[in-house]
């Protein structure tokens, strides 16, 4: 059994209206459903996604105002140039209605979808060991407090699994600049010590 650690960007990729196909987050989730892997998520990522997903929905589906503004300019230009054909706005309006419906559905179902997804993952709770490990992270790498919490939780749980004899441990995150070991020997050592293999996407 593979043990795979993920963080907020995994939740975002699974839950966002327009997922990034090459990141393959939903593939990873499918493998969990088939019992191939166990997925672990730090407690703080669950709270973070509740706060940030609305912004992601806005980025994915909030394009229709600008699209209509652009169409309005085209219509005005067509009128001013007295073009016979004018500018056909019907498809724009259809697309707007589709985007509005998708937005409403995404916002309405946001909390239910987060709860449903998180229920299928093992949450790394802020135990005493997780807090201790988080306090040690500043000796490994200078990170923002949120990333310290993520890394502290992942390292603490990976250590526990390793001590229990588990060997197939992976950390999949899109945040390679903060959490990737490539340019940081201390972080590489910390991952090596608990047998954690780093991946900069979800295509395990």
């Amino acid at each position: 059994m593979k043990h795979v650690f993920v963080e907020t960007n995994f939740l975002v990729e699974v839950l966002r209206p327009l997922p990034t196909p090459q990141k393959r987050a939903r593939d990873l989730l499918k493998r969990r459903e088939q019992g191939e892997i166990t997925l672990y998520i730090p407690w703080c990522s669950v709270t973070e996604v509740r706060r940030t997903l609305i912004d992601i929905i806005r980025r994915d589906l909030g394009f229709h105002d600008e699209m209509q503004r652009f169409a309005g300019l085209q219509m005005k230009a067509a009128r001013e140039a007295k073009r016979e054909a004018g500018f056909d706005n019907r498809e724009i309006k259809k697309l707007k209605a589709l985007a509005e419906n998708a937005t409403t559905e995404a916002i309405k179902s946001k909390n239910d979808r987060i709860s449903h997804l998180v229920a299928s993952l093992e949450i790394i709770q802020p135990s005493e060991r997780v807090i201790e490990k988080t306090m040690e992270v500043c000796d490994i790498k200078t990170l923002k407090p949120f990333d310290e919490m993520v890394l502290g939780a992942v390292l603490a749980r990976a250590e526990e699994l390793q001590q229990a004899g588990e060997r197939d441990l992976h950390f999949c995150t899109l945040d390679k600049s903060d959490l990737g070991p490539a340019n940081n020997p201390n972080l590489k050592l910390a991952y090596d010590q608990c047998g954690l293999i780093f991946h900069a996407d979800f295509s395990l």
Binding site: I57, R58, Q68, R69, G72
Partner: protein, 147 residues
């Protein structure tokens, strides 16, 4: 009377403008539409003590006529889920709207009214423009429009 400009991105254009007034009559509505147009904002809420008007851009023209009245609801009904934290309901409309807006930006899930018609507007338009927004409070609309 106050104006609140909500922004979500580094873009200086507000995503939602909320204004209070003594009475949302035709003159005030017309000035509000102009203010929305000038600021490149497609959605506005105009509150008076009794009613809240939702004004939105139809993008049918690049002028005031493009803005239409989407819906009118009772002010109390729109703000029905606000946690007043000791602020009396008799407080000024400006202060009540300001408190409601800040709660809407930070925890919109708790602010969805029970009225299904109003809730539909929240889900389709208001939340997307207000959630997690930065709120800038300005002076009166008359001052702004004269500027």
């Amino acid at each position: 009377m106050a104006q609140f400009l909500l922004r979500n991105t580094p873009d200086y254009r507000p995503t939602l403008i909320v204004q209070t007034c003594n009475q949302a009559d035709d003159k005030v509505i017309s000035a509000f539409k102009t203010f929305l147009l000038r600021n490149g904002c497609s959605l506005g809420l105009l509150f008076d003590p009794n009613k809240c008007l939702i004004i939105r851009d139809t993008f049918s023209a690049m002028e005031e006529d493009s803005f239409e009245l989407g819906a009118t609801f009772r002010t109390d009904a729109v703000m029905s889920k606000t946690k007043w934290h000791g602020l009396a309901r008799s407080e000024s409309l400006d202060r009540r709207v300001e408190l409601w807006l800040h709660q809407l930006a930070s925890k919109w899930e708790d602010l969805i009214p029970d009225d299904a018609d109003i809730a539909a507007w929240f889900y389709s338009d208001i939340i997307l423009h207000a959630a997690a927004a930065r709120i800038e409070k300005r002076g009166t609309s008359q001052e702004e429009n004269a500027a």
